[in-house]
Symmetry: C2
Subunit: 133 residues, 2 copies
Amino acid sequence: MNHYTTILREHNLKATPQRLEITNALHLNGHMSIERLYEIMLKKFNSISLATIYKNINLMLEASLIQEVKIPNTKSVYELTKESHSHTVCSECREITDIDLDLSKIETLATEISAFKIDYTDLVLSGICKKCQ
Amino acid sequence: MNHYTTILREHNLKATPQRLEITNALHLNGHMSIERLYEIMLKKFNSISLATIYKNINLMLEASLIQEVKIPNTKSVYELTKESHSHTVCSECREITDIDLDLSKIETLATEISAFKIDYTDLVLSGICKKCQ
DNA sequence: CTGGGTGCAAAGTATTTGCATGAAC
DNA sequence: GTTCATGCAAATACTTTGCACCCAG
């Protein structure tokens, strides 16, 4: 049985073909906007509704199965939840890429400066990727 | 003459009372959503239009007079442009605060790992602020 | 005075909701 | 069989646009 079938059911979400295709598309593409996801989904389900996409994205967000990524000057994209990581975004080709960076020093410093108790840290590096330089 | 009068004119924007009040409100409040800004502006201009807010926010963004800040689980807020800095957001009181952190080590590391040429870095720390702990 | 800005109304875009039908389990 | 998801249409929310009038410079 598909991995995401199990995960969906663990969150009391039925494993419909539409939902499995959302997880599949995110797995293959990494980061997708609602708009892009809709285009992809249309290829498999020619009468899928945007409402279905929105409803499922919201349910999956609540279940922490996926996460929203907010990038400057861009619509939000969504990704499957994985270990904490940062993102790069290329201003040329617009590609969004995961990058693993150790932020613990920064977080320690921030806590010392401000007595703020950090739950999670979002870091986005904007610039030009290797290919576009 | 008001500082922002000068800056607006330098960008070929007339220094109208509405625009000066936007800069003033941002100066006093730090970070504001469109909605909150509209509420504040209504106190001074009882017939101001949301369209005026949107038009001016967009013009000021183009002029780099202000910047959009994207925070997880929240509508975008805007702030007056200043030196690069990070933000904390409290999940309890929702307050957004500036914090100065030296990100150069992280940026150097990121460049080494990925050959990505960084133009700017956005860092948001989510958690609980001192007051709410 | 003149060009650009404002407020209003309408249009456009994005997202959510209600409901009848259909599919998952 | 029962519950919940889907797709459609309508409703709501958010943002932009067009235009007549007005004000900053």
